[in-house]
Symmetry: C2
Subunit: 103 residues, 2 copies
């Protein structure tokens, strides 16, 4: 695994985060992470989408600071950066996930 750019908490930017969430695939990934906690790339979006495209989407989420990656063997476990997001933008993630999944 290469050096992955990961913005510090204090340099999280709201437009970048909203942009990252403003795509159907990425928003679905985020809502799944919100309910499931941690997912590998392969099952983060288990639909017919090429893995190169999925990798691209996860990179955008990472670089925006929405998700964190933990490598374990050959699996890359993705999870939401809940604490950092909550600290910088209180209530944002919860509100978006709430309205994204109307139940």
């Amino acid at each position: 695994m290469k050096i992955i750019y990961r913005p510090e908490r204090d340099s999280l930017e709201l437009p970048g985060i909203l942009y990252a969430l403003g795509d159907p695939v990425r928003l679905t990934i985020v809502t799944r992470l919100a309910s499931k906690g941690e997912l590998t790339c392969g099952i983060a979006y288990p639909d017919l989408i090429p893995k190169s495209t999925l990798s691209h989407h996860l990179k955008i989420l990472r670089e925006a600071g929405v998700i964190h990656v933990r490598q374990q063997g050959r699996e890359y476990h993705n999870s939401l950066r809940r604490d950092d997001l909550e600290a910088r933008f209180p209530g944002l993630l919860r509100t978006i996930v709430d309205v994204a999944v109307p139940r």
Copy 2:
């Protein structure tokens, strides 16, 4: 003024709205509308930005259903579609505006 596409309340899509807000210029426009109520194109973003670019940004906000345009003479007054947004995505706009303007 031509026919302007304007999505109905029920067809507002969350990814499209987040995408529209996921740009620094457009997010600034929205926070200004949130505090000032209604603004014309020209003063929605009173910085050095070409008016063709500004027009493009406002179109994206309109087509995502974030703002509404009212023509009065040769001025186009833009305002947030607060009620529609609140009905479809409760708390979303307020939360985003709150965290966008940290005060």
